[in-house]
Symmetry: C2
Subunit: 231 residues, 2 copies
DNA sequence: AGGGTTTTCGCCTACTGGTCGAAAACGTGG
DNA sequence: CCACGTTTTCGACCAGTAGGCGAAAACCCT
């Protein structure tokens, strides 16, 4: 029984969320698009394996985040001998445009091309996970360049979440968690003018929220999120 | 390369969180305790496999929740030929005490016995996942009987989270999400008297929160969690 | 200088969860 | 049968959070 690792590597480009795909040259499913990855070697664990295999497609230093998604193990998920897949979610900041082999391209996750095997469902799972984690972790910084404006960050959040996000709330929420650190610099305004936006960076002194907030916390501890009115 | 499925099946008993373990009879790691599970067959996916294998240990109808935890794939995680493991988290309500084979026992997760292979780390991962999900999902109901008092639910939460939880807050939070439905009945008071507790059941009409609350929500929608004062 | 554009900041409101205390409902012992 | 302890339940108060404006700031272009 074979084991392969696959990664849905996502990035934000403009107003859309994109996934890195490559076009299969050989059967089965020739000319369909599939996720990067490959066989797990006997001397590596799944995370080492996916990082090694992604290194052939992108500069791994540009990978700002990698995490396990789930195991996909339907017996007939690929034709031929049984192959179980460990799927990963990978993120790349929006400012880098890695050189990539000719057969790989970024595709908008909203209109995926004809995909090979069960890879489309893996992409959807990755998109859902990113959306969920954007709300309660700091994973959003993995989508942004080292220095960014609030507007850029808001656009990234909007693209990944699929709905508009208020820049006011975004800045306030992140600031309260001590995650935003002003660099002092400003970004030049757009072609139509406007006030120059202040630049921020991710503050390592902030609260790294890997797990969701606890709604019920131990007595005598500070509390997490708050509710507001919709009005 | 082999593939096995393992499950950390948790339940609350009294004030402690317990995990179901069985004692290995054969080498390697004879007499150490390990998680239930076994080899993945070629005609089943991982979830079917773990349910089939758990059926030999517990009545699967008593399993109130099963979800993938993670893949454990260190090349040397087991001696001999390479075996990759897909780990699951399973939950059993506290009111059932399934018949089980003589070699299996419930152990408190706080003081685990000498465990086989990497199974101790899997148990810890399961405990952390349960603790996280208790806060932002309805998974807590999987630990409780069909009808329960708020006090019992609070004790379960406390056991699983490791800190005391306020019954007032628990009831308020769950009620506001329309998750608690009074059955009308009351539970008899304890030996030392006291007001009889009202019985509740899980309301299917409530908000099933599988994913965490979004801290940043779409404009014009209700809001999720609120913060309070620690005072 | 004036108008358009974008960002930034402050104010208000709604709602949440923690804390505390009182009241309700029971058993028990004098 | 009434006072007491026990446990549950409910209400009130408070601090802190996020959503929703709207005004002010800072820039470009004409």
């Amino acid at each position: 029984m074979g084991h392969e690792v696959l990664a849905a590597v996502l990035r934000v480009r403009g107003a859309s969320l994109q996934v890195m795909l490559w076009e299969r040259a050989r059967e089965p499913h020739a000319h369909r698009w599939s996720l990067p990855g490959g066989e797990l070697r006997v001397d590596e664990d799944v995370e080492s394996s996916i990082r090694r295999q992604l290194a052939e497609k992108v500069d791994v230093r540009q990978l700002s985040h990698v995490e396990q998604l789930a195991v996909f193990s339907a017996p007939d998920r690929v034709p031929g001998p049984r192959v179980v897949a460990t799927a990963f979610l990978g993120l790349v900041p929006s400012d880098v445009d890695p050189e990539r082999p000719a057969d790989t391209e970024w595709h908008c996750v909203e209109k995926l091309p004809l995909m090979a095997f069960d890879h489309a469902s893996i992409v959807h799972r990755a998109r859902n996970r990113l959306g969920s984690k954007l709300s309660y972790t700091n994973i959003g910084f993995a989508l942004a360049p080292p220095e960014f404006t609030i507007s850029l960050l808001r656009d990234h959040y909007s693209a990944a979440l699929g709905y508009r996000v208020s820049a006011t709330n975004l800045q306030r929420v992140l600031s309260r968690r001590l995650l935003l650190e002003p660099t002092g610099g400003t970004a030049p305004p757009g072609p139509s003018g406007g006030r120059p936006a202040a630049l921020f960076r991710f503050s390592a002194k902030g609260i790294l929220v890997t797990d969701p907030f606890a709604v019920l916390r131990p007595p005598g501890s500070g509390r997490p999120a708050g509710g507001g009115g919709t009005t």
